[in-house]
Symmetry: C2
Subunit: 136 residues, 2 copies
């Protein structure tokens, strides 16, 4: 993060929940998000890989939820979607000849991991069902 993967995935899941039972195609979903259908299909591929959605190919195809919305919590969605560190570390290697530079990556990673766990713990208290229920 913070690209918009998490937001897009939550948007997709919310839509699938709201139109439950139906197969929604990538163009329809992209129309709601206002983004490119290929981006949606990529995002769906990832959600599928993590067992959150199911897709059907061919004419009349599309996607649906693969689990009960009450059983999808946002901590697991976060983990499914995440593809890089929450906090970017400087893309260049810090100076190995400097006492601080030499060790900081290791210490920052540990700090970030713990902070991220706190974040995930919080996200895990929400389910898709809770979230969906807020839309009226």
């Amino acid at each position: 993060m913070s690209d918009s993967h998490f937001s897009i995935s939550l948007h997709i899941l919310t839509l699938l929940d709201h139109e439950k039972g139906q197969l929604l195609n990538s163009e329809y979903i992209a129309g709601s998000i206002n983004c490119n259908p290929v981006l949606v299909r990529k995002e769906l591929a990832n959600l599928r890989k993590h067992g959150l959605v199911h897709s059907k190919e061919g004419k009349g195809g599309g996607s649906t939820l693969a689990k009960n919305p009450a059983d999808i919590n946002f901590g697991e969605v976060y983990k499914a979607v995440k593809q890089k560190s929450l906090f970017g570390e400087s893309k260049n290697e810090p100076n190995p000849d400097c006492l601080v530079g030499k060790q900081i990556s290791k210490h920052l990673s540990k700090l970030y991991d713990e902070a991220e766990n706190a974040l995930i713990k919080n996200l895990s208290t929400y389910t898709l069902a809770d979230f969906s229920a807020k839309f009226d």
Copy 2:
């Protein structure tokens, strides 16, 4: 985030703590981080604005901590450094004609705010002094 502002700020603060008493100039700091000195000066400008460091202009100038490292917690550093949402939201406006699209930004913002608060709460348990002590 997740640009590297937070990482760079923590690196700067750690260095200033480790070489306490001295004025460190932006070139020296940049050498440890392995980035451009101007980037360091911009980051210092922000830390200064938030009362975390003090800088001295002119020959022999540089920066020092403005507070005791035990009184600098990483929650406040995070808040000082943060300049955009933890999670990017799709840069296009979602479709206002869609029930989900119309309301999702509001609901996501609330969700993200609460998750971010959990993150900050965790970060607030660490001080610069604690962190610095890990370097040997």
